[in-house]
Every structure is written in structure tokens, then in C-alpha cells.
């Protein structure tokens, strides 16, 4: 029984690096450019793995541990999600708290690594990343609350599994609201356009990019891969909430999931090409709007 979820997890980890590429390519095409190939991140990762690591003299072990924690937490969080809507590798009551906690731990490690360099720019980026997460995390909990209330289950495997398919039509408005909020969170968590711009390298506006500025070689690759997997996780959440994958046969669900991930990535690209990046003081407002959507979903279910 463990083989199915494991294969799905490996499939998702394998396609994850294509998602940021797909989003960036969509953005480029919609703005009239050709853009980098979709598979660019795979090449970048292969190149970074062959490189040496350069450490600044001011850094300590915290800086070196950071990227490993990022990858480890994101992959651990992925084991908790029932990616194909049938079963998760690991599942226990209340694992949704572990899921958000793992994502938070990864971000914490990254922020500490940024602070460890002693650079004022990275300190600024770290403070911004934390500001974003202060607003993003409650919103994520509210989205999960919608799922808990809709299904009456408090493990991720339960609330995204067959039970969701059974109650889907009764709770459709709330679930659509939660999916919209999750999509907004995906943009914030993976530092895409309205919140952060992956293409910018202007110190005054960077959030995520500035923290990883001192990382190099395989460690930078780990951070890039971790971010791609995070996008895949949120994409899987959006897909799982909108499509009851649990109804599909076990062999078909992973393929539908991958298609859903592609659609989410293209959606990210469309948002990126149609919106300007928000001013820093407007970012919390974007996330509060996501929370408001989720709160509305919760209210509709409590009615």
C-alpha cells in the first residue's frame, strides 16, 4: 500500500522543478518575449551541483545547515499530503499542524541563514520574509479549517481523500474560496509576483532573492529545489481541493495531479504577467484578503 503514495511523491518531486519554469515561460510568452526554456531549472540545478561552495568568513554552521533544512522540511511536508487524493505516506490526527509547522521551520532556517551572513541587505530581506509569513500562516490555517469543517477530518490524508469527494458538492462555495486563498498563498510562499519578484535583483525590492544571495553551488540548488517543491505542494493543495482526486482510479490520479500542477503554474504565470508587484506595505493587505476569503469560506460552513 505504501508503494502508490511513494511513487506519486517521487513523481511530484521530479516534475516540481518544471513548475517555476512553466510559470516564467507563460509570463514571458504573454509579455511578448520568448523566455527561458521550461526545463531551465533542471539545467541550473545540474550546473549548481557541479560547482563548489563559497562561504563567507562571517558565516557559521547556521548558514550551512539552512539549505538542508529547507529541502528536508519541504520534502517531509510533502509526505504528509495525500498527493493523489488516496493516501499519504505519513498520516496522523492533526498532521495539518505539522504540515504548516514544517513549512514554517524551513522558512525559519532560511531566515536564520540569511541573518547569519551579517549583511544588512540580507537582514532586511529576512525581516521582510518574516513579515510576509506572519500574514501567510494564519491564512493557511484558515484554508485548512475550511477543509476540516467540510469533511470533519483532522488529518490531511482524511480531509483531502475520498471523504472530500463525498461532501464536495455540499461545500463547493467554501472550497472554491479556500482554493482561491490557497492560490494567493502559493504566490506569497514561493515569492512570485504580486508579493515578490523572482526576476528582480534590485536590493530595495527583493524579499526571497536577497536572502539566498550568499548561498552558492549545491546549497543554492537546494534552496531553488525547495522553493520549486513548495510551489508543487501548494499546487497539489489547490488541485486537491478543486478536484476530488480520490474518485479517480489510483493509476490515473497522479497524472491528473501533474496536469493540475501544470495548470496552477500557468495560472501563476498569467497572474505574473497581468499584475505589477505590490508595494511592500501593500503585501500584508494581499494576504489579509486571502485570509478574508478563507474566513468567508469558514463562515459559510458554520452557517
Amino acid at each position: 500500500m505504501i508503494l502508490g503514495p511513494l511513487l506519486t511523491l517521487l513523481l511530484v518531486l521530479a516534475v516540481a522543478p518544471a513548475l517555476p519554469g512553466l510559470a516564467t515561460r507563460t509570463r514571458a510568452l504573454l509579455t511578448g518575449r520568448r523566455g527561458a526554456p521550461v526545463l531551465q531549472l533542471y539545467r541550473d540545478l545540474a550546473r549548481l551541483l557541479r560547482k563548489n561552495v563559497v562561504y563567507s568568513r562571517t558565516t557559521t554552521a547556521v548558514f550551512r545547515i539552512g539549505p538542508m533544512v529547507v529541502v528536508a522540511t519541504v520534502v517531509a511536508a510533502a509526505t504528509l499530503l495525500p498527493l493523489d487524493g488516496h493516501a499519504a505516506l505519513l498520516s496522523f490526527r492533526g498532521d495539518l499542524v505539522a504540515f504548516t509547522g514544517l513549512l514554517g521551520l524551513g522558512r525559519f532556517a532560511l531566515v536564520l541563514a540569511g541573518l547569519d551572513t551579517g549583511s544588512s541587505f540580507e537582514g532586511m530581506g529576512a525581516s521582510r520574509e518574516v513579515t510576509v509569513s506572519v500574514f501567510a500562516e494564519p491564512a493557511l490555517f484558515l484554508c485548512l479549517t475550511v477543509l476540516v469543517l467540510a469533511t470533519g477530518e483532522i488529518s490531511l490524508a482524511g480531509m483531502l481523500g475520498e471523504r472530500l469527494a463525498a461532501v464536495w458538492f455540499g461545500a463547493a462555495p467554501s472550497l472554491v474560496l479556500a482554493a482561491a486563498a490557497l492560490f494567493m498563498l502559493a504566490l506569497a510562499e514561493t515569492s512570485r509576483v504580486p508579493v515578490d519578484d523572482p526576476a528582480t535583483h534590485l536590493e530595495l525590492t527583493m524579499i526571497h532573492e536577497v536572502i539566498v544571495l550568499d548561498h552558492s553551488g549545491p546549497e543554492l540548488g537546494m534552496i531553488l529545489f525547495g522553493n520549486a517543491v513548495k510551489l508543487a505542494l501548494f499546487g497539489a493543495l489547490v488541485t486537491g481541493v478543486l478536484l476530488p482526486l480520490g474518485l479517480l482510479p489510483v493509476w490515473l490520479a497522479p497524472l491528473v495531479l501533474v496536469a493540475g500542477l501544470g495548470v496552477v503554474a500557468i495560472g501563476v504565470g498569467i497572474v505574473e504577467s497581468s499584475m505589477a508587484r505590490l508595494r511592500m506595505n501593500r503585501v500584508p493587505q494581499f494576504l489579509v484578503a486571502a485570509s478574508a476569503l478563507a474566513v468567508f469560506g469558514v463562515i459559510l460552513l458554520l452557517r
Binding site: 462555495p173 501593500r282 500584508p284 493587505q285 489579509v288 484578503a289 485570509s291 478574508a292 476569503l293 474566513v295 468567508f296 463562515i299 459559510l300 458554520l302 452557517r303
Partner: protein, 212 residues
Amino acid sequence: MSALHELLLLCVVLTNFWVLGTTRLSSTIRATAIQGALLALLPIALHPSWSVHTLGLAGGTFLVKTVILPGFLAWAIREAAVRREIEPLIGFSTSLALGAVAVAISFGIAQRIPMPESNSSLLIPVALSTVMVGLLVLTTRNKALSQVVGYLVLENGIFVFGLSQVERVPFLVELGVLLDIFVGIFIMGIVVFHINRAFDSLDSTRLTELKD
């Protein structure tokens, strides 16, 4: 049909959030236009019998709330050259959060209000939350035009409330209300225009200063 009107009412609440969350005045006006169109569809969705009453109400609502008033407000911001609400009394994030609270409160209260039987259990809570959001916008924004938008949203809430009683309210009364709103917004628009002429700004806090 029942799913359709519930969907419309949910979209009304979403446009409320939209009005609360945007800084651009043109965007809030677009939100009220869309809200007006949703309200125009509501009588048809609630009473699929296609009577003259509901069709007239829908047509009149669409004409006034989606075409004339937003067009007029758009004209007003063009003439007065104001683009965005810069410093509301309560920040945009806070007002969004307050909007969510307002929705929660109205869904909580609505079940306790004794009402004659109505077509949808969502009508009353949506009406209440729209009224509260309108009041919030009306009282916490500084630009006179945002306040007009708040008034319009407030009135939309009252309209939704009235929809639960469509059979009992004579057609003429509804048209009279629509006309009232129309004249009201028209006068406000002209006042806004004159405020802008006299003070070079639409900031209503500056109206407390004396000027000769």
C-alpha cells in the same frame, strides 16, 4: 435556480471585499458596477416566473446601478482628477479584516432575526453584511468619492434586504427608491465636483477648515 442565486449572493459579498481592499477609486467604482449587475440578476434568479414586476425591477436596477451611476462616478473622478484613496482613517488591511468580522457577525445575527419565510437563507446575512461594509467605507474613507461609493454599497445592502420581500412591496415603491438613489448620487457627484473646485482636493477632512 437555487444554486444560481446563492452564487450571486456570494459574489455580492466578494465584491464587498473588493471595495474594501482596493485603493484605486476606478477599481472600487468597477466593483460597485459589478455588484449592481449581480443585484439586477438576483430578482430574476429568485423569482423565475418572469413577471413584469421582477423583469422591470431587474432592468431598472441594471440601468441605474450598473450603467448610469458608475458611469457618472467615473466621469466625476475624471473631472476631479482623483485616482486613489491615499490615507483612509482605517488601513486597508484592517478594513478587510473588519469586513470579514462584519460578515461573521451578520451570518451570526441573521439566524436570530425572525423573518417571514423568504426564498433564500443567504439573503438576510448578505444584506446585513453589505450594509455594514457600506457603513464601514462611508465612515472610514477620507475622499468624498469613496464615501459616495460607500453610500452606494450601503444602499445595495438595503436593496438585497428588500428582495426578500419582493412580493409584498409594490413595484412603484421600488422604482421610487431607485430614483431616490439616482438623484442622491447625482447631487453628491455634483457636490464632489464643487468641493474639488473650491478646495483643490476631495479630502473631506479638509472641509472642517474655514476658507474665504
